[in-house]
Amino acid sequence: MSFLELGNLHKHYGPVAALAGVDLNVASGSRTAIVGPSGCGKTTLLRLIAGFEAPDQGRIVLDGQVLANGGAAVPAHRRGIGVVAQDGALFPHLTISDNIGFGVRRDDDKRAERIVELAYIVGLDKAILKRRPHELSGGQQQRVALARAMAMKPRLMLLDEPFSALDTGLRASMRKAVAELLEAAGITTILVTHDQAEALSFASQVAVMRDGKFSQVGTPRELYLKPKDRMIAEFLGDAIILPASISGGFASSPLGRIAVDTSDSRDVARIMLRPEQIGLKRTSREGMSGTPDMLFGEVTESEFAGSTCTIAVRLLNNADPPDAAAIGGTPLILRKSGMDAPSVGEIVRLTVSGKAHVFA
């Protein structure tokens, strides 16, 4: 039974279609991430769910209540949906305490108590409550925005790129803290982001959006390892895409015989490997001789970046691919641990672990 249902949502701004038929089901208490390049319509979708705008066509149903149907829509202030905006959108003329308590009735006896409790939940120091938004750091502002949205006990929480304004280190810890917090409160959450790593690590369901539509919806693992097409594959991470012929659960490719995730047979297909599936082992030119079924390469470039090292490997031999010319001189780009990465000129043996994904 899904908690939030979006059915065939359309929204136009003049001649531009921001949303062109969006369908989505969100389970109660789950976390969904909507990810896509900027301008794909994800923020528009969030605004429709929040009620800041009405769809041109389509339905939004939350917990059995129709929020929008065609042009008719319940206004935002009657929806009980929490929103945390990109930069927090804190009220600059109010103290932190008044910001958090903004949605709580002022004649509520427990208002002050509730504000303190919320501040505690989001990990804010009590001393901060008397301050003003501009005196806070970006991370603190986001926590206040979250506490403010949680104060009215929302049925659904919408997060609009809430971590993008934070530094890299803070971003990861905030993301984890927010995920745990919302999970503990049992609030269904939708996160909008253009950062694929954020989407994959935050959510139990990820929806990839492009040109106003979802191109694929699934669990993070599913999307990462079995993307529907090349664009999704490359959007979610680095990908090595190779021509291959497949039969009997194996592909023969420029990287040799690799297990695949389908039992179909096809003469011409494209397979995808994630770079981390390829292992490197140091060897030498002498080590290459007499091992025709093994795959060797030479490191042509190496770029050190601290914890990781990006290296380019040019294949020295390949095991009779269907169209070897297609890959020919293109080196493989791999990201390896910076500790023991081979340096330029070294000969390495390549091994593939796990299965390759075959594009339909």
């Binding site: 930069d87 804190l90 009220f91 600059p92």
Partner: protein, 526 residues
């Protein structure tokens, strides 16, 4: 860009920062200090005269029923006109900026256009149409009509700048549209409303011609009456002292109400484009409000001037007389504007390039003097010249100094904004490319700030063109500006002969008002 510069500055060690400040050439500091000291002279004189007159005479002159009466009149005028102007301006500004009102851009411009009409011309128009108009409510009506654009401009600019994400956030927290307006939008307009109200209030205190037409006595009219009957006697000076106190009360109130809060948007990123609210059935009443406002604020003066011009025919266009007045007005306006801009330049430069406590103090002096009514400055200069430097009494020099003192803040605001647009990095880049310091300054900062300086000069010229009280009291014998000619004809109830002068003043002010409108748009980032 600006935030990057701020960041760089805050990152400097105190030692480096001190050196950066010391880089300001001493002659610039000296120029800024002397401009401010000169600005303080009128104020100092009022205090000095009060001290010299002695407490007994002062209390006899100040604590009398007449002063109480004037105080009640002036106080009621401010207390009634300012809130009405606030309500009207906020409504009009919201409708033009945030609703789908048909023709919003045209209405926005029509809401600023009344500024092109001098306040006493508004009054002249009303007294023509309703000859019996007089007293407090007449004063309130004409004051609101003449001065509400001073509130409309900042409020609409602030509305345009508001981050719509805040309103979205409030709606998501369960607030309906009206409560969002009261709890989120209105508090953010506080700065704009305070600033605009102060401006309106100060104009109400300083205005002379408007209230003479409708026979409503305020401090300013009383001071001019007193001056005309007893010249610069202690009575006029003491009334001026009370008026100055009223101005200070307004300034202090504004500081109190404005508070210390920050209203800029918190966080980074571009603000989302604002959505306009659909008016639906309220469209017609809203349009009616604009039609009514435009009729009262523009229709009445234009129709009246047109009617008098038609009635007077060709006879009222005494070309030689009008030409002379026009020439004198243009000369005084341009010379005064030039002097005010030159006097403001060192201060503007320091306030952008080397801000600090000294600069804030100097600037404060200028704003306080700039907020004093023209009649007070004129009276002080009359007293000073007559007592100390008689040869300077009623000379071109004195009247230009008076203009510079009165309108320095206008020049300062424009100059500051334009210098701020020329980051110091450009000056440094020019230096590093081999230009000598003065040459580097010329080819970067001065070039870039020239349009803003010109706009500031135009606004000062606009003020001088429509100035009446100080000009009457200080100008050399035989001077007859457009405003003075208008005033003397309408004083003789020869309204037809006054009409051409009113027409020329309005016609010359309209383009400058357009400039003001465009500038306020640009300041809001559009």
């Amino acid at each position: 860009m600006q935030s990057a510069v701020d960041f760089a500055r805050s990152d400097m060690s105190p030692k480096i920062r001190r050196r950066a400040q010391r880089r300001v050439a001493p002659w610039i500091v000296a120029a800024a200090v002397s401009a401010s000291l000169l600005a303080l002279v009128p104020l100092a004189f009022i205090i000095w005269i009060a001290v010299q007159t002695g407490w007994e005479t002062v209390s006899a002159l100040v604590f009398r029923p007449r002063v109480g009466e004037l105080l009640v009149n002036t106080g009621l005028l401010v207390l009634l006109a300012v809130p009405i102007a606030i309500a009207l301006s906020v409504t009009l500004a919201w409708l033009t900026e945030r609703s789908d009102l048909p023709g919003a851009r045209l209405w926005a411009w029509l809401c600023v256009a009344p500024l092109a009409i001098p306040a006493f011309v508004h009054s002249y128009a009303w007294i023509t149409i309703v000859p019996g108009l007089h007293g407090l409510w007449a004063g309130v009506l004409v004051s609101v009509i003449a001065y509400f654009p001073f509130l409309y401009l900042p409020v609409s600019a602030a509305l345009r700048r508001l981050d719509p994400a805040l309103e979205d956030a409030a709606a998501a927290l369960g607030l309906g549209p009206w409560r969002v307006f009261w709890r989120v939008v209105l508090p953010q307009l506080r700065l704009a409303i305070c600033g605009g109200s102060l401006l309106v209030g100060l104009h109400l205190l300083a205005e002379y011609g408007l209230y003479v037409f409708i026979r409503f006595d305020t401090f300013t009219t009383a001071i001019v009456d007193q001056f005309q009957s007893t010249f610069n006697g202690p009575a006029a000076n003491m009334l001026a002292g009370v008026l100055v106190t009223c101005c200070f009360v307004l300034l202090g109130l504004e500081v109190l109400v404005r508070g210390e809060e920050r209203y800029a948007r918190v966080g980074s990123g571009a603000a989302r484009h604002q959505q306009r609210v659909s008016l639906g059935r309220a469209t017609l009443p809203s349009l009616l409000l604009f039609v009514l406002t435009t009729l009262l604020a523009l229709g009445v003066p234009f129709v009246t001037i047109g009617r008098w011009l038609a009635a007077g025919g060709a006879d009222v266009w005494r070309v030689d007389e009008i030409g002379l007045a026009l020439g004198q007005t243009l000369f005084l306006s341009l010379a005064g504007a030039l002097l005010a801009t030159v006097a403001a330049m060192p201060m503007a430069w320091i306030s952008i390039r080397a801000p600090g406590p000294l600069q804030r103090l100097l600037e404060g002096c200028n704003y306080i003097v700039g907020s004093l009514p023209g009649v007070v400055i004129a009276l002080a200069l009359v007293t000073i010249t007559v007592r100390i430097a008689l040869p300077l009494y009623q000379t071109l020099f004195t009247i230009l100094v008076a203009y510079a003192l009165m309108f320095l803040p206008r020049a300062l605001v424009s100059l500051r904004a334009s210098i701020a647009q020329a980051p110091v990095e450009l000056e440094r880049a020019a230096s590093s490319l081999g230009r000598r310091p003065l040459n580097a300054l010329w080819s970067t900062t001065i070039r870039l700030s020239a349009p803003g300086a010109a706009a500031g000069m135009a606004l000062v010229a606009l003020g001088i063109m429509n100035e009446l009280t100080a000009t009457q009291m200080l100008a050399p014998n035989g001077t007859r500006t457009l405003a003075m000619a208008f005033w003397s004809y309408s004083g003789e109830i020869d309204y037809a002969s006054a009409a051409p002068y009113a027409f020329i003043m309005v016609a010359m002010s309209l383009p400058l008002t357009w400039l003001l409108y465009v500038q306020s748009k640009r300041m809001a980032g559009r």
